[in-house]
Symmetry: C2
Subunit: 237 residues, 2 copies
């Protein structure tokens, strides 16, 4: 069951093949199409993405420092493993990054930030109002909207580095959420929480927005951890 048919229409605006492959490959790792720990063989990747070996290597090399794939010499690339320990580790840092970023974002955000946030929230809310069944069918749409919403919240944070690191940890958190979701039913919508965070942000209550966001993220992590045994690989012993 290949993740996607071969030369997927350029729905993204990637100019370079390597960038296009990169985003597709990353998406397929984050949503669990490639299981944690799975080997990534070039023959298969070539078939799936229709790119040459060199191009694939370039994309995989990009994912290496992000911690999404691992490489051991002459044995090729593997999807990075997951563990409850790693989840707690990355989650703690991620919550902190998000909290700090949103506080600064609320304090520095101007009109453009407000508009962007309102728009992103609106798009997310439209999907989250649907029934569970509909949400399930349009999950990739929800995923993009959710991602955009969280990015919009922190978009006005002036620290480029904080945003960069937040983006890194966000990816990993997303992978944990999505991988765990494959092994349990879709949870209830977090619509109310998203709305509360957005409201606090627009009301310029920076500290409150930070607390709400942190709580939202912590709860998500706890939910994933609660279901962890169902999808976590057993310890190597």
């Amino acid at each position: 069951m290949p993740p996607r048919p071969l030369p997927r229409p350029a729905e993204n605006d990637a100019v370079l093949v390597s960038q296009d492959v990169l985003s597709r490959l990353k998406g397929d790792i984050l949503d669990g199409h490639f299981a944690p720990g799975a080997r990534l063989r070039f023959a298969e990747l070539q078939r799936l993405y229709g790119a040459g070996i060199g191009t694939l290597r370039e994309a995989l090399s990009h994912l290496l420092p992000e911690g999404l794939v691992e490489l051991d010499a002459n044995r090729g690339f593997r999807v990075a493993a997951i563990s409850a320990e790693d989840l707690r580790d990355v989650s703690d840092l991620h919550v902190e990054f998000e909290q700090r970023a949103i506080v600064q974002s609320v304090r520095h955000g101007g009109e453009a930030w407000e508009s962007g946030l309102v728009l992103a929230f609106h798009r997310l809310a439209r999907i989250e109002r649907l029934t569970r069944e509909e949400r399930k069918q349009r999950s990739s749409e929800w995923l993009a909207a959710h991602r955009d919403f969280h990015r919009a919240l922190v978009a006005a944070c002036p620290s480029r580095w904080l945003l960069r690191l937040r983006a890194q940890t966000f990816d990993h958190m997303e992978r944990y959420r999505l991988v765990s979701q494959r092994h349990r039913p879709l949870g209830p919508s977090k619509r109310a929480e998203h709305e509360a965070i957005q409201a606090a942000a627009l009301a310029r209550k920076a500290e409150l927005a930070g607390e709400l966001l942190a709580a939202h993220l912590r709860e998500t992590t706890e939910t994933v951890l609660r279901h962890a045994p169902q999808f976590m690989p057993p310890p190597p012993g």
Copy 2:
């Protein structure tokens, strides 16, 4: 003036050509052989490192998410720019990472950590006892020892993610230090500070070690910033 002669003897133990090129290229960017903002042309890189284009692209793709190089489509790779603003940004986060990491490291470190630290400090101290002239000649040796010393300090920190992010910001801090050093005389040795930090760590005074380390790093950043106009590119206007 090429950074180094062509097929440098394999002084590191990199099994893969791409990994070897990666570490050399990274080193040459960090120490300013390739100036911030400079274009990285494949013809030149091929001549310098004796590797094929594909291999070079792989190494550059690795440096992309680390923020050391940038890519714009069909225009190739450039060394990432520097600025006083970026330095403050990355420095603030770096100081915090180091401080938290050393506190945890001191609390969790066992015998192996202690030995490693003692050894790393000893190696660094040997070089820092030399005269300024000698230190200048053996700067690459000092660089490695300094790097190892700081790594040894935080090595026992149990958070893999904290260590990973610390390593990322460390690289950028090192680049700022080295690039600025090319435009001003070598500063005085930080020997006493390093010794104080090591002593506090070995005495298991976690908080003290954290404070000393943070102060050490902040002072370094301030020194660099004080000399910033001499090496920072003027604002694009």
